[in-house]
């Protein structure tokens, strides 16, 4: 599934044009990106959290030549799915839809 497919689903479910749906998707993605770049985490309730982690410098090895190389410190994006999301992909509909209460 690609962005255009998501836009198609959103457009059908919500009753807006595909073009408008795609515009909102882009705004959502750009907002997440910008926040992560500033080092902030993005918490999407019922979906999950996007977090930036700082990786320390470490020594790596070229697996082909065995040569040792330095790996520079870097920032990486990680995602932790919410319990709702995890439950949903394992067929626990009630939890996924928030019907347990």
């Amino acid at each position: 599934m690609r962005k255009a497919d998501i836009a198609g689903e959103v457009s059908e479910k919500v009753g807006i044009s595909k073009r408008d749906a795609e515009e909102i998707i882009d705004l959502v993605l750009d907002t997440i990106k910008a926040r992560l770049k500033s080092g902030e985490q993005v918490k999407i309730a019922r979906f999950g959290n996007f977090i930036v982690r700082n990786k320390r410098p470490r020594k790596g090895r070229n697996p082909r030549t065995g040569e040792e190389i330095g790996i520079t410190p870097r920032k990486v994006v990680t995602f932790r799915a919410s319990h709702v999301f995890k439950g949903y992909v394992n067929g626990q509909e009630g939890i996924a839809r928030g019907l347990e209460q």
Binding site: E9, L29, T31, I44, F47, R74, V77, N90, A96
Partner: protein, 92 residues
């Protein structure tokens, strides 16, 4: 930033939508991704990253309070892999 903050920011930018309408659309976007993974599909968004399921094998766990061994069943977990563009954007 939370989803509520995001919805507020986006509805400020899009004049044609109320905050409530923006909320419905944003929720529908994330639901669409969840639905795709739940039916075994994967989601690939260019410039951002991809969502897919990873398998976790069954394992033997232990109740930390009582020490009793329990089987933790095999399950699937949603996994996100940042795309090249997102990786470079965040690390620059």
């Amino acid at each position: 930033m939370t989803k509520a903050d995001m919805i507020e920011k986006i509805s400020e930018k899009v004049n044609s939508l109320t905050a409530r309408e923006t909320e419905i659309i944003v929720n529908s976007i994330f639901d669409s991704i969840k639905d795709a993974l739940a039916r075994g599909d994967k989601v690939e968004i260019r410039g951002f990253g991809s969502f897919r399921l990873r398998d976790r094998r069954m394992r033997v766990g232990r109740n930390p309070k009582t020490g009793v061994q329990v089987n933790v069943p095999a399950k699937k977990v949603p996994f996100f892999k940042a795309g090249k563009e997102l990786k470079e954007f965040v690390d620059s």
